[in-house]
Amino acid sequence: MSCRPHWISPRWMISALSLCLLVLAVTALMLGPAALSVRQVCQACCHAVRGQAEYDPVTRIVLTTRLPRILLAMTVGAGLAMSGLAAQTLLRNSLASPYVIGVSNGAAVGAVAAMFLVGKWIPFGAVPVLSAASGLMVTATVFLFAQRGRNFGHSLLLTGIAISAFCSALTAGALYLAGERLQTLVFWLMGGLWQATWSDVLIMLPLMSICLIGMLLLAPAMNVALAGQRSARDLGVNVRRLQSLLLFFLAVTTAVAVSRTGVIGFVGLIVPHLLRLTIGADHRGLVPASALGGALLLLTADTIARTAAAPVEIPVGILTALVGAPTFLWMLQYRAGGRAGV
């Protein structure tokens, strides 16, 4: 009987994912309404570095339209996948996603409320700020309620579900009353990256980096946390501190990501889960691999979303689920053939 797991070495996986991501990023720079060659893309990059961006049209396309969008897709994808991993470890449940604790529904309520107020009391630029703030407030509420429970993971999940339901009822009510604003709201809720600007990237990139470094530092403790809450304490982990930090990273990254790009589903669920099946559950490899995998998945989905049915754009949230769900099922079946999943 062979019970040895068939895991791929995390180092190998991380190198492969990095390479794929690099190739895909260059490809994505080339694709679009104006197709560019590799040479043009390289030249544009050189121009940009030398500070001659204004005069060359190709450089302007690359710099102002495509590059911020690609970088935003990568950072949001990485952030969502890492948040998903944090949620799965925090709840010891591989079916958890970053949205399960109510961040996304909270952010949606904030955004929908803000859109009603836009033009009357607040400028349009305030929508993401209100959205992120409301996502964070909802998570903080969930955290405060869950802290009273004896089993923190359980209470967190239950409180999250309850408060999420409350928030989605508010959102649904708002949609019902939206009138001519309905399409804007629905489009936002579906998630997409068509509004990507450098300012989005400048917010997401540092945030994602902090999240990555923080979770790399927590990786050994996250490993121990998988052995169960009590065992983790016995083995020397300050469990409450670990949980609070993970929840903090998860909430901030997800709330800001959702406020910039809407609710993009499935990345946070599928990426850490599939990687855990492929490289094992050691978080020291799983954290960077998830970040890369999330970036890769969202960049792929977004590139397809903007090129497949051009000039019409498919909301990327629809694509991630359409492509992600069958892949996920196939992987689960494939793994179950050899051995039971996690």
């Binding site: 998988l226 020397g236 050691d282």
Partner: protein
């Protein structure tokens, strides 16, 4: 190192004390059995000893240092626990599982060092599970799992070992083997406390027995002395007739 509890009190609810002032001492080289009926507070006491439950009164001292003032990490470097139940759905191999025992010794980045690998190898050999090292923890049998958890506790390289009903899922052969291993560990200098329900086999392997009833210590001393007919009647409400056959083994008939 000597682990001492002085007047430890604890209750999950304010008006229902579970531990009513427990004082005991665990010394290196000795195996202590903690006996008593269900719900008398044995496991709670064990969890108070490494402060994963914070005692509400009294002190826990490790060679005169206050354990309650120590960080979880530092405690784990001295006191290892084998819990009653371990989640079995842990997606780790046996080697990774034992590696978790090294957490308290790691630096910030969690880099494994050569020393870690040596310790793990020694623990694997010590528990005779080298052949299982690459297997998944979730696919082991109950007996194998218990050995892995004990190996993980050894990887902590502490001096105090707390075992919470470690043999409850094991058959008699594995129980005997487990007790022998624990006995050996004590001989090598560990201070061992073992919570158990087994008043027949376990006493053959222990130096000190402690009988607990309703949050208090009823009796403390050698197993022969503690497991007397009166004490068994007082603790468990069972009338027993005890006859000693050999040096350390004893038989009991229940009525």
């Amino acid at each position: 190192m000597i682990l001492r509890a002085e007047g430890v009190r604890f209750g999950y609810h304010i008006d229902q004390p579970v531990l009513r002032g427990i004082t005991l001492e665990l010394c290196p080289g000795r195996v202590t059995a903690l006996l008593g009926p269900n719900g008398c507070g044995k496991s709670t006491l064990l969890r108070c000893l490494n402060t994963s439950l914070r005692p509400q009164g009294g002190r826990i001292l490790l060679d005169d240092r206050d354990v309650m003032a120590m960080a979880p990490r530092e405690i784990a470097r001295h006191i290892a626990v084998v819990p009653q139940d371990t989640p079995t759905d842990v997606p780790f191999t046996v080697r990774q599982m034992i590696m978790l025992g090294r957490y308290a010794h790691w630096d910030t980045w969690g880099q494994e060092i050569a020393d870690d690998r040596c310790v793990i190898q020694r623990c694997l050999e010590r528990m005779d599970i080298t052949s299982l090292a690459g297997r998944l923890f979730s696919e082991l049998s109950g007996g194998e799992r218990q050995r892995v958890i004990l190996a993980r506790a050894l990887a902590q390289q502490g001096t105090v070992l707390l075992l919470d009903e470690p043999t409850s899922h094991l058959d008699i052969a594995h129980q005997l083997e487990f007790y022998r291993m624990v006995r050996e560990l004590a001989t090598e200098g560990q201070a061992v406390l073992m919570v158990c329900h087994d008043i027949f086999v376990a006493p053959m392997f222990v130096d000190v027995a402690i009988l607990m009833v309703d949050g208090n210590l009823l009796s403390c001393g050698s197993a022969d002395k503690v497991l007397s007919e009166q004490n068994i009647a007082a603790a468990y409400g069972v009338r027993a007739q005890i006859s000693r056959t050999g040096e350390a083994s004893f038989q009991a008939q229940f009525k």
